[in-house]
Amino acid sequence: MKLPKVAFPSRDGIPWWVVSLSLVPSKGWAWVGAPSFPIVGAYFPAWLICLVIGGIGAVLLRTIFLALHVDGLLRFHLVTYLSLGSLVGLIGWLVLFGQ
């Protein structure tokens, strides 16, 4: 797969998405605040939020893959989507709370 050359402030040799991820400043996620979320008077831990993000991510990926006909290429659907969901959740953790 060949990525299109983009007029994005990319550095040579580094994929554009890595640059854009690293360009997201730590201050940019400061609005997230404390790693604990109040829901009707109780504080829910950050990892629970990441679990939800992972679950939603898995469902979204499944929908996208179905729409793009990628789903047909896959085998071991349960393992694949579980792993992809975990990845999304873990990366969500790193981005939101990992700084």
Binding site: S26, K27, A30, W31, G33, A34, P35, S36, P38, Y43, P45, A46, H69, G72, L73, L74, R75, F76, V79, T80, L82, S83, L84, S86, L87, L90, I91, W93, L94, G98, Q99
Partner: protein, 352 residues
């Protein structure tokens, strides 16, 4: 939907599944490693020192100068206990002191009289010695005259008797002098009583001062629930003063995560009063002991061990004390006992 799988071609599905699995595992390990380096706790509390405010003396609460939750400054009057009984006690002590002073003056005068008496006795002693010497000289002078019958033996015997009387009189005068010397004594007793009276006055003044209770730190009044008129025992706590000089977060950190924590480490503290506002903190110390229910000390001193065995043990947590910097500017976020999130060596406040 038509799905085709070409036999013998590259197994895309299996490779994707495997790479997703391996990727997820690797990222999970990385996240676990990172979390181990940056211990955090979402069950911390905001903490500060507090002082139980009590008067050292008892009495009726005459004037209460503060309201619940009011900020106070060091030295401010908090409340006043009815000073009248303590004023009366002070007057009584002062009267006792005046009496003791008068007694001391009396004792000094009596001492002067006794010293004069002792001086008189001394002079009488010298006088008696002189008279004894004179009597002896008379005896020695008369003896040869009596032997040659120039004077009668009667005269000589009278002289001897006068000499013996003079010796007795001298012994008497010596004893009288010794007695008067011993009787002089001193005024230490009266001085000691005066010292005692002075100390009693100081104590009464101290107790009178203690009827005014002032704030010994800058802080806030909490748990105040009485009004003027309440009768207080000595040392009875009326309310608690929460210090605002220095605030802390107490973060319970699992023992397995204590290793990277050192004094002076940066920490991000979120008070849940405003969870979007990171506060910068500095690790001060890690608690050296917590009470555990696994082994309890009892009266006999022998440990009580529960007769059961768990397969899975919950990690013990130790409170890490984190000093919050710039507490004065963020006073609205700091209340004793507020829930806090703490990220050590980590978080928004540690990047700035």
């Amino acid at each position: 939907m038509k799905t085709e799988r070409i036999k013998g071609s590259f197994p895309v599905g299996s490779v994707l599944a495997l790479s997703a699995l391996v990727g997820a595992l690797l990222v999970a390990l990385y996240v676990d490693h990172e979390s181990g380096l940056h211990p955090d706790s979402d069950s911390s509390i905001i903490y500060t020192e507090s002082v139980h405010v009590a008067a050292l003396v008892g009495g009726r609460l005459q004037h209460l100068a503060v309201e619940p939750n009011q900020p106070v400054h060091k030295g401010d009057l908090l409340y006043q206990i009815d000073p009248e009984p303590y004023e009366i006690a002070l007057h009584r002590a002062e009267a006792s002191q005046a009496q003791a002073e008068a007694d001391l003056n009396d004792a000094r005068r009596a001492l002067a009289v006794r010293m004069a008496e002792a001086a008189t006795s001394e002079r009488r002693h010298h006088q008696a010695e002189d008279e004894k010497d004179l009597a002896w000289r008379t005896v020695t002078r008369l003896k040869p005259l009596a032997e040659q019958h120039y004077v009668s033996w009667q005269v000589y015997d009278q002289a001897v008797t006068r000499f013996n009387s003079a010796v007795d009189a001298l012994a008497e005068a010596q004893h009288a002098e010794q007695a008067s010397q011993v009787a002089v004594g001193d005024v230490k007793h009266a001085e000691a009583i005066l010292k005692e009276a002075v100390a009693a006055v100081e104590h009464a003044r101290y107790e009178l001062r203690q009827t005014r209770v002032t704030a010994n730190l800058d802080g806030f009044v909490t748990s105040l629930g009485v009004r003027e008129g309440e009768v207080l025992a000595a040392n009875q706590v009326l309310f608690t003063l929460v210090s605002k000089d220095q605030w802390y977060a107490l973060a319970p950190i699992r023992e397995i995560n204590l290793a990277p924590i050192h004094k002076g480490d940066c920490a991000t503290v979120y008070s849940m009063i405003d969870r979007s506002h990171p506060l910068r903190g500095v690790v001060e110390s890690v608690g050296w002991g917590v009470l555990t229910d696994y082994m309890k000390e009892n009266d006999r001193g022998a440990p009580y061990v529960e007769r059961q065995m768990d397969w899975v043990h919950i990690a013990q947590r130790f409170p890490v004390r984190i000093r919050i910097e710039h507490a004065a500017e963020n006073q609205h976020l700091l209340r004793l006992g507020a829930t806090a999130n703490v990220e050590i060596l980590h978080g928004a406040a540690c990047h700035a």
